[in-house]
Symmetry: C2
Subunit: 83 residues, 2 copies
DNA sequence: CGGTTTTATGCTGAAAAAAGCATATTGTAG
DNA sequence: CTACAATATGCTTTTTTCAGCATAAAACCG
């Protein structure tokens, strides 16, 4: 299921979702991606200021890929962003 | 046209393409995004090690958005039968 | 060709993120 | 409720990225 990630929060939510779908803990994922659990936590909770390399490491560990597209008006807002 | 960016190089290429499509110079884009021309150059040439915030700044300036998708597993209905 | 714009490269110092460790908080079974 | 697992927070040190400036190397155009 494709997720639009226009913010760190949406990106974190997408990552968390993919991780839970695979039944992994943050510690497991961090180990796979060569990162630390604390960092995974920060990223998933949408805290600003992470490196692209960390995101790529998580994507690889979670079998995700990034697609760059022109913004279309048809925003499909994520539930998380309403609150 | 959507661009898959599994590496810094692909991401840089997608950004460069979007910039040229809008007829902007790196300096113009950097100004719009609140960055410097040198950094735009580094990102476009695919040098590793950039911050996610810089990418988001460029995306916003270029009207791009990031879509997170599963690499394998689930069937991707749109693309698979083309080749 | 020469001159101008654009893009790439190389420094330094300042700022920021990650590692590493400790620990608090929350979640979840039993 | 209790105990354990999972997640979030805080701190210091190390590592990395960015700004800022200079300049080299291309690309463009008369």
């Amino acid at each position: 299921m494709a997720h639009i990630a226009r913010s760190s929060r949406q990106l974190g939510a997408a990552i968390q979702r993919a991780r839970k779908q695979k039944g992994m803990s943050q510690t497991e994922l961090a180990g796979l991606a060569g990162l630390r659990q604390e960092l995974v936590s920060k990223i998933e909770t949408g805290q600003e200021g992470t490196r692209l390399s960390s995101i790529y490491a998580l994507f690889a560990a979670l079998d995700l890929e990034m697609v760059i597209d022109q913004r279309s008006g048809k925003s499909a807002p994520d539930i998380e962003d309403i609150f």
